[in-house]
Structures are given as C-alpha cells and as structure tokens.
Symmetry: C2
Subunit: 334 residues, 2 copies
Amino acid sequence: MSYLTDEKLAILGSAGAIGSNMVQTALTMGLTSNIAMLDPYDKGNEGAAEEIYHCSFPGANVTWTADPAEALSGASFVISSGGAPRKEGMTREDLLKGNAEIAAQLGKDIKSYCPAARFVVVIFNPADVTGLVTLVHSGLAPSRVATLAALDSTRLQTRLGQHFGVPQSEVTGCRTYGGHGEMMAVFASTASIGDRKLTDLIGTDELSDEDWEGIKAHTRQGGKRIIQLRGRSSFQSPSHHALLMTKAVIDGQGYPWPVGCYVDAEQAGFRHTLMAMETTVDGDGVHWTLPQGTEGEMADLRASYEHLVKLRDEVIEMGVIPALDGWSSVNPNL
Amino acid sequence: MSYLTDEKLAILGSAGAIGSNMVQTALTMGLTSNIAMLDPYDKGNEGAAEEIYHCSFPGANVTWTADPAEALSGASFVISSGGAPRKEGMTREDLLKGNAEIAAQLGKDIKSYCPAARFVVVIFNPADVTGLVTLVHSGLAPSRVATLAALDSTRLQTRLGQHFGVPQSEVTGCRTYGGHGEMMAVFASTASIGDRKLTDLIGTDELSDEDWEGIKAHTRQGGKRIIQLRGRSSFQSPSHHALLMTKAVIDGQGYPWPVGCYVDAEQAGFRHTLMAMETTVDGDGVHWTLPQGTEGEMADLRASYEHLVKLRDEVIEMGVIPALDGWSSVNPNL
C-alpha cells in the first residue's frame, strides 16, 4: 500500500463520528501514512484507534492522545471536527459561543505546536466563524486555513438530480456561496442539467418557480434533514470532503467544490470574513475569486456576507477574537 | 475517478454503522461504481444514502431500497451486515437463533434474485453459523460464500505490536483459525516479530507465558473490548476487511488474512462446517488449505471446530437448515 505522503495529519475530534471516519478514510484514500488522533475523550479515542489498528493498514503510523502538543507537533495538516455537535432543532448559530472558544484554542495550539502547518480544515459549526477564529489565532497565512463549505453545493446537486431524474453527475456547476448557515446564497445561474442551463428550466413545466424555491429550501435544510433521517448529524460527507480538500493540497489535483476561506477585498466590499467563494485548492492552500452571478444572486451573497459580519462581530464582542484593528498583532498575516 | 468494476455490489444492512461505512469505503476504494443499499429501515437508509450523495462520488450509481428483489437482482457481490448487533455482555452465540433465521432468508433471496453472484461476504454474528446457513440456502458454490474472520488475527497483530513496542506492520504471520467466537484457535507458531519467531520469545523475559496467555485472552475479547471503549460494537474494521476480501475477487491481488469458508475434508476430519482456515482469495472466490501448527495448536483448532459443529447442529435442530443429508437437495453444490 502506498501513501501520497508521510507528512503528519492531525485529526482533532477523532473519537467522534466525523473524526474516526476521517482516520479510516484518509488511510483508505492513501493520503498519508502518518496520522495523529487527538480527542479529550481517551476511552473513545482508544476505541477508535483500535478499530483502525484492526484494519491493519500496511505501513500506517497511527497514534492517539488527549495532548494537543503531542498530536499537533510537526503536523503538516490539521483537520478539526472537535466542536460540539449540532442537535436536532438547533441552528448552526446556536453553537456559536462554545465552538468559537474551542476554535480560539485550536488556533493558539496551532501557533504553539505546528506554526508551519500547510493546511488546516475546520469542520465544526458555525464553520464560517470557527474557521475565522482559528485563522486569527493560528498566525497562519489566510490560504492555509479553510472550512468545509461543499455540502450545500452537493446537496443542491443531489436534489436537482432527483428532481430531474438524472444521475447526479450530470448536474454540474452547483454552487452555494457565502455562509454555510441558513443564510447561504444558492446560485442558479452557474448550474446545468446535462447541457441545459438551470436558469432556462426554472419557471417551466419541468421546474416551476415553486419547485425551485422548494429545492433551495431543501438545500438550506440539508443538514437538518440528515439529522431527521439518521438521528444524528452528517458525518460521512463532511469527512469525505475535508479529506478531498486536503488531498488537493498534497497532490495538486484540485478540488471541484467551493471552499470556505478568508476574504478581504475592499473593492468587492467583502471585508475580514471567512466565507465560501469560488475557489481553487493547490499546494499553497486555498485561493478565491469572486463568484459570477445574476444581480439577485449577488444580492443574496451580499446578505449572506452581512450575516457573517454580524456573527463575526458577536464573537469580537465576546472577546474570543480581538477587534479588527487588533488582528494583525495576533496574526501578522492578516 | 475510476472504479475497478461497474458490477453491482449489494450492501445489506446499509442503514447501520457497518453497512453505511461500507458504501462510503467501497466508493473511496474505487471498488465499483454500482451499489445497491438494502435495509428494512427506510428512513435511516435514505439518510445514509443522502450522505453518500452529498459526497458526490463522480459517476457513482447508488440506490437505496427496502426490497430485496430490487437490491439483489443482478448483483455480482453481496455483503451483508444485516443481522442484529451484539450488545455489551452478549456472546456471539447469544445471537444465534435470530441471526440464523436472517441468514436463511438471505440465502433464499440470493438464490431467487442473484444466483450468479460471484462473492458473498457475511459479517453478522455468529458469522461461522450465519455464513454456513447463507451458503446452504443460496445454492452457490462453496468458494462463493465467505465470512469475515480476519479481525481476530489483526487484533493479535495489534496487541503483539503494542507489547513489543514495534510498528504493527513488523508483526507478521498472525493467525487465528477455526471459529470466530471465543473458541477460536490462536496460533503462535506462524507469527514473527520482525525476524524473530514468536515461539522463540514466549516464555522469555520479553514475553512471559503469562503475558502470552493475556495476549491470547485479549485477542479473544477484542470485539468486547471495542464495545467497552466505544459503547458500540466494531464497525470500521469489519467494513474495511469485508471490502478488501471483495476487492481481491475483483482485482485478483489477494487478501492476506484468514477468511471463513466452507470446509468439508474427510481426511482432515473437518466436515460440513464453515470456519477460518488458511485461505487465498481470487476471482473464483475463497480457497482453503489446512493450517500448519504445533500439536497443541491443532488440538485448539479441533476444539474450535467441534464447538462449531455443535452450533451447526443446534441450527439444524431449530429447523433453520436441513439435516446434513438434506443439504444437497437445497444446494447441489454441497
């Protein structure tokens, strides 16, 4: 069995459903042979590690610990699912305070133990905020910290495929941008069903305006729906995508979905936030460009951004991160 | 993304922890693009399928259903984790009756809907019995039906690596044979730590006889220990190995661990049972040879076999499978 690298990948929250799935999936993908499992819950972490040992991945070096210093020291890649999970009925925003504080500690730990980390993926909610807080405290360059934002787009793709009765892979260009919460901006103008533009189909017999509104609502509620169906929040798809994003940094083969990343573009009017944009991922991390959409879509993106600014400012008020003019003293890359 | 085949893989119990992990892992391995998810629990099965859709595996064709005919029709590969799970405090044998009846129905469904199946892996406990019952009712050739038996061997490997403080991969030749229950035969004579034979180390300062007895007990209790640590029975390692076994049938690259398979060898004195032997897996399925061990190890294997014969005879008494002389009327390959 060969691995793409033997650089260390630290998986935080590895006793949990997402984290333990990531360890297995990273090894199955052949991403790296070298994985540190970090979780404060020793017993569950040992159990999760034992399961991986019983898989007997050839040449794998998998360790488990509750000590951030041990797990993070020398890590090139960090993926954290180590927040509190969302429960049925909670919005992502309900989780704000507790998880923002966890993210602050994560950023500080990265600064202390792996300041040369090549890529950090934050996948605990509200990810736009936890990713930003992690970035501020980590001291890393903005391209090195990303959040998982793809699932809204893949949920849109799934639902459109189901509506039109075509294989999901034939639905292309599905994009949601901005926040990963319910204020996400769902774009129609980028998507196609086979060779037909989605915008040419909306408002026809094939996809009434009402249907389209339903699909958008379904996309926004995609995470809640998994909880309703499975009795637990999604864990397989976040694991898969966080690893695909990381794989793109390792192998340079790209990642085809939007990524949440730090955006500070005065001209575009998006300042000091972390949000899903049109992105590419390469060996240097994540890079964004401004989405192209209709006037209405761009207004939705603006509204989503403004919602994120509010959340960011709440976290500043809580004292979890400094006020904007203090960021550069904590992270000179900002 | 490329897949090794587009032959259909039916995963039974796909709403459960093992089954849903298998769907994701099979796609991540690139095993096949074509997966049918079967589970009587529609809601959970839909949720598990939606998670897979949200991964957006390129070109994947994944369906979900509660209808065995739909899932199994045309399947080349069948993996079933669709038994009742073992709870803390239960032995595998406690599960006997309920799961034997599920296995009988599985065999009948295979006969009805996919009589040309190339490989069936049964991974619900007690697997030696459920695998046998499935085989009898399926009508398939014995090489086409296998059970997961590797985890005892990989648990032994894990524990020996931990004891000697060496990477797990340096511990080779770990083998348990016979039953997958607590009566398994744990072999020492096949194993090495690096280039040193395990049998040369037992009874030395490096590994006292007491330590070795402890390691064997630990191996036998490996499944229970996962339940104690994680609060649930193992699901990642069974998923991984069931798929690796199936992969060996698809790609002919072999599978390095013991497999549970049908054994009927008059000369060796192992008749009409399903048990873990030394095995190879290729495009025709699983093939066994007699393990080579010390006199004591072979006596352990014999005792394990005799325990399995008792379990088999209990299932015959229950009427779940016919008496031995009636097997060929149900399955002409036996």
